[in-house]
């Protein structure tokens, strides 16, 4: 696959973003709708405080980064599930999520999209080994290779407070030697690729779009701050689905007039 593509039907900017995505497997850029992102972050802080019964005024600045001082690791999963349920129930939450990444999605995926029904939330406290995602590619467990993950941090993410990804060239090498490299378990596989993975540095205010067909994951967060990130999958509406189907996992979000017209078309009765 040629990753350096120049399509004269696309603008220079579109060609640049597309080539970067193909070449690196991801792009990071500023949130398109910063006010939507700020609203989301404030919502997370408000809902967290309600959940933890924190009534006194505390500074919001580092609240999420330091949540581990107020919440035990043993309570983390229930807390996270409750957060996912509550933030997804907020009006226009998914619409705002889409707006944050819209110009990148337009270029990388297209303008007629399917979006995951629920936005996921990941909270990874320092030294917590219960919230790890071993090395995997989503396609290995039944996702369509047409999907793109939009990953939005609510805090600054760096080193082990972030996620890693195996670049496309290294992934190709892994695919060609998968049996020898994968060993007996995912930890064996990680050891094989440990010095080839790229740890992504991404600050609050930026958005990451990555190719979930590339191996990725996280490790124990060895930093002193908690990671808070959201992730959600998007794909071209009329591209092939795999195990995550339209209706039960994805839904159309930007059906255009011609498609609505076509989908509803019926030949005249003879």
């Amino acid at each position: 696959m040629n990753t350096k593509r120049s399509n004269s039907f696309l603008s220079d900017k579109e060609n640049e973003i597309g080539s970067k995505y193909l070449e690196k497997g991801y792009i990071i850029g500023p949130a398109h709708d910063k006010s939507a992102l700020d609203w989301m972050r404030k919502s997370f802080i408000r809902v967290s405080k309600e959940e933890l019964n924190i009534t006194q005024d505390t500074l919001d600045d580092k609240f999420l980064d330091l949540i581990h001082k107020k919440l035990a690791i043993s309570e983390l999963n229930d807390f996270r599930l409750s957060m996912i349920r509550k933030v997804n129930a907020l009006p226009d939450f998914r619409q705002k999520y889409y707006q944050i990444a819209k110009p990148y999605l337009d270029v990388i995926v297209g303008n007629e999209l399917s979006m995951q029904l629920k936005v996921n939330v990941s909270i990874q406290m320092p030294r917590d080994d219960s919230s790890l995602l071993p090395v995997h590619a989503d396609t290995w467990s039944g996702d369509s290779p047409y999907e793109v993950v939009v990953w939005i941090p609510l805090v600054d993410c760096f080193k082990t407070k972030s996620m890693y990804i195996l670049p496309p060239e290294e992934t190709l090498c892994l695919h060609q030697n998968f049996i020898e490299m994968s060993g007996n378990n995912s930890e064996d596989l990680y050891k094989e690729i440990e010095n080839k993975v790229l740890w992504l540095k991404i600050n609050y205010g930026d958005v990451l779009l990555f190719n979930q067909a590339l191996p990725h994951g996280n490790r124990i967060n060895e930093e002193d701050e908690t990671r808070w990130t959201m992730n959600c999958r998007f794909k071209g509406l009329f591209t092939p689905y795999k195990d995550k189907k339209i209706g039960e996992f994805f839904e159309p979000i930007t059906l255009r007039a011609a498609s609505i017209s076509g989908l509803n078309y019926k030949l005249p009765l003879s």
Binding site: S114, L117, K118, L237, F238, T239, P240, Y241, K245, I246, G247, E248, E251, P252, L255, I260, G262, L263, N264
Partner: protein, 137 residues
């Protein structure tokens, strides 16, 4: 608390099959999540294109507040037939929920969202799939 009566299938729908007891587990869990009372399910007849049980459940509204179906794809594949069913339910001041998809129709304005999913799903076999190399079915 609203009462929702379950609707499960005994036949394949849109190429999918799920054992009835698993459908009931999903329905029970869904009702818990939406804070509704789960009323034991009606099982649709196995004959193709039969929706007699669904019609029976609609008839039970307003004794029950609505129906919770395992999936929206259990409904008729013909759009006009589906629209008639939605309207019957709404006319009786009932609601229809779809557990797997987490969607519901409680007003006319919620029909489009469900129908968009139906129509795209039905169009997908006609879209290009590199695995089958089929462009048009």
């Amino acid at each position: 608390m609203k009462s929702l009566k379950g609707y499960v299938s005994s036949r394949v729908f849109m190429g999918e099959r799920c054992p009835q007891h698993i459908q009931n587990v999903v329905l029970r869990d869904y009702c818990k999540k939406v804070d509704s009372q789960y009323v034991l399910s009606g099982v649709e007849y196995a004959m193709n294109n039969s929706f007699l049980m669904l019609q029976q459940l609609i008839y039970e509204i307003p004794k029950i507040d609505g129906i919770v179906a395992y999936s929206l794809f259990q409904f008729p594949e013909i759009q006009d037939d589906r629209l008639i069913i939605y309207q019957k339910i709404l006319k009786r001041k009932g609601e229809i929920h779809f557990a797997v998809e987490g969607l519901k129709i409680t007003t006319n304005s919620e029909i489009d969202r469900v129908e968009d999913i139906w129509l795209v799903r039905q169009a997908l076999p006609y879209c290009y799939n590199p695995e089958t190399n089929i462009l048009v079915k």
